[in-house]
Amino acid sequence: MTAFLDIHLRRNNRALLAWLVLGGLLVYFLYIHPRGASIGVLSAWANQGTALAFLAVGQTIVVLSRGVDLSIGPIMALTNCLASHLVNGGPLELAFGIAVVVLAGAVCGAINGIVVVFGKIQPIIATLATGAIYSGFALIVRPIPGGSIDEMLSELTTGDLAGILPSSIVMLLVLVCLFWLPVSKASLGRSIVAVGSSEQAAYMSGLKVDRAKIAAYTLSGIFASFSGLFIGFQTLSGDPSIGLPYTLNSIAAVVIGGTALTGGAGSILGSIAGALILRTIGSLIFFTGLPPLAQPLFEGTVLLVAVAFGATRLLRINNRLEVFR
């Protein structure tokens, strides 16, 4: 599957490296965990990374198009607040609620795309601005944390499958396969990558640049809504400020996963690994013997090492002009 989800990763091994690092960290975490490896521990581990992983997937798609989405946290919060009103009741109501929430995410994403494309505004600032607007709406939808979300869905999505696999991870992969895989293999996905690689060339080649960008942001909005839903399943409630720490972390996840912020090439799977790495670093402090006041420094340092890994590519460069790629 890696091949499908790697969109022209310049060096496929960056995503692979991310998965190796993740594997190492996870093994270490399970090793120091007093309970050791058990499905409960694994599910808790997977659950805390899933919301970020969804965002990282969405962020990657935008980054592939050479954009960036700083409204991803606010969309997550807004959809989470909506979910806390809508995702309740009988099966039909649940389905309707989820559909509305995902649609809301798609609409927010599409608005981002439209602002970027037709407002001719640079993505960072456009999504910073729309992000403020979505945060405002989240506050209107739910002025303070509260509401409720169907518990059965919660158990279904945050538990495990037959005691073997954390259901959150399975759901993550299934949704990625449903919503991104077909796109990545169709003209639209290629256009997104082409635009990210060289917008002018894509335009000159007669690709529909505008449509590709709007699609990328819309997909990002959709994945943000999955994230908002999932955090809702985890917390059974809505919170207008829940997205705050997520936006920048989603970008960090993308970079750690081996996708260049300069667009055009990257790996969705790598980003998922990136998100899980970030959260596993956080988990390590649970059972290391670190003094509490040293914990943030420890987390920062591990992150530093993970990020500095990226610099090793310099060692392989023999033509200084390639440094700038």
């Binding site: 965990h33 303070i144 944390p145 917390t235 919170d239 829940i242 997520y246 914990q295 943030p296």
Partner: protein, 343 residues
């Protein structure tokens, strides 16, 4: 009867009591903090460690694990889940969000882990919640005292609120409204200071520039900004209600600004951890505990009691809860000496 009722008072709207099956000690206890990089929280962690290090408390604890997960609610839930999985006997935590923990509370119950939620408590009646009564805190104590210290109960009051969308801010605001509703001649101007000194200072100065004069000012947190703005704009000293950070209390006391410092002490940390241990030992608690709200008005402020000229301005001056026992009050020296070298 319930455990130490003079300290663990039943809270407003209390819904019965909480008791767990007795377990043999000593215990493995975890403390899960949310936000990092806030002095109150750091002092809280230090207080817990000072308390737990005292021999009479240490004998009940085989292991005390303290973690701060930051503001990501998923990380905090995972931390609690992991301590449950790892078989810890009790977990005390400050929730980053009051409504997010119902699912994990259920899992704790299934596993037989004792949960104690404090400071920013969860909205779940099945766990022991220890918190100030925010409506009383901000209203009956702070707002009332400010009104009482006004020349007459009329005119304009500036209310400086905290971060919007946060339930504590909402509760505190309700408290203020409740008290001021009784005074039809008082007009309230509301601004948002985000609990941040610099922001509070700017919005206060701006409000003064536009409104000219306030008869009193009520501030939630970051209130040193209010006294700074009063000084900078040459606003006459009027009653100010605020927090208990050393800088603010000093500013009231040393400049004779009438007012009141009201606080929730970081001593809530050890109060909560002690409750967790008492629960394990079979103690009974009101399901919702309101810790007393310490306060001091300007006229009663004394150096090295209510404020500490030689300590940093961000020190929380109320270092513990005297009603909760002699071991629940910490000196700045004790806190500073608390090194961070074991877990």
């Amino acid at each position: 009867g319930t455990f130490m009722p003079e300290c663990y008072k039943p809270g407003l709207g209390d819904t019965g009591t909480i008791k767990h099956a007795k377990k043999e000690g000593p215990y493995r206890v975890a403390l899960v903090n949310g936000h990092t990089g806030i002095p109150w929280r750091e002092q809280m962690i230090k207080s817990v460690k000072v308390w737990a290090a005292a021999p009479e408390n240490a004998k009940n604890i085989t292991e005390l694990k303290v973690v701060s997960t930051g503001s990501d609610v998923a990380a905090q839930i995972a931390a609690i889940d992991n301590f449950i999985q790892a078989g810890y006997d009790a977990i005390a935590f400050i929730a980053v969000n009051p409504t997010a923990f119902d699912a994990v509370i259920k899992r704790a119950k299934q596993a037989g882990t004792v949960l104690v939620s404090f400071d920013n408590p969860v909205d779940n009646p099945s766990v022991l919640r220890i918190t100030p009564e925010w409506i009383e805190f901000e209203g009956i104590i702070k707002a009332q005292s400010v009104v009482n210290q006004m020349k007459e109960p009329k005119g304009k009051i500036l209310e400086i609120r905290g971060i919007q969308g946060n339930s504590t801010d909402r509760d505190r605001h309700l408290g203020v409204q409740k008290v001021l509703a009784k005074y039809p001649d008082i007009e309230v101007v509301e601004v948002v200071g985000n609990w941040d000194t610099g922001t509070v200072q700017k919005v206060t100065a701006d409000a003064i520039a536009v409104h000219g004069f306030f008869d009193a000012i009520i501030c939630q947190h970051g209130c040193r900004g209010v006294t700074n703005a009063i000084k900078a704009t040459g606003h006459p000293p009027v009653p100010v209600g605020g927090d208990a950070e050393n800088g603010f209390v000093k500013a009231l006391a040393m400049n004779d600004i009438p007012g009141i410092s009201v606080s929730t002490s970081p001593g809530q940390g050890p109060v909560a951890v002690r409750a967790a241990i008492a629960l394990l030992q079979g103690g009974e608690f009101p399901a919702l505990v309101n810790v007393p709200t310490p306060y001091v008005e300007t006229k009663d402020m004394k150096p090295n009691v209510n404020y500490f000229p030689d300590e940093p301005d961000t020190l929380e001056t109320v270092t513990g809860y005297a009603v909760c026992g002699a071991d629940m009050v910490f000196t700045p020296a004790q806190l500073n000496a608390q090194s961070a070298d074991n877990n």
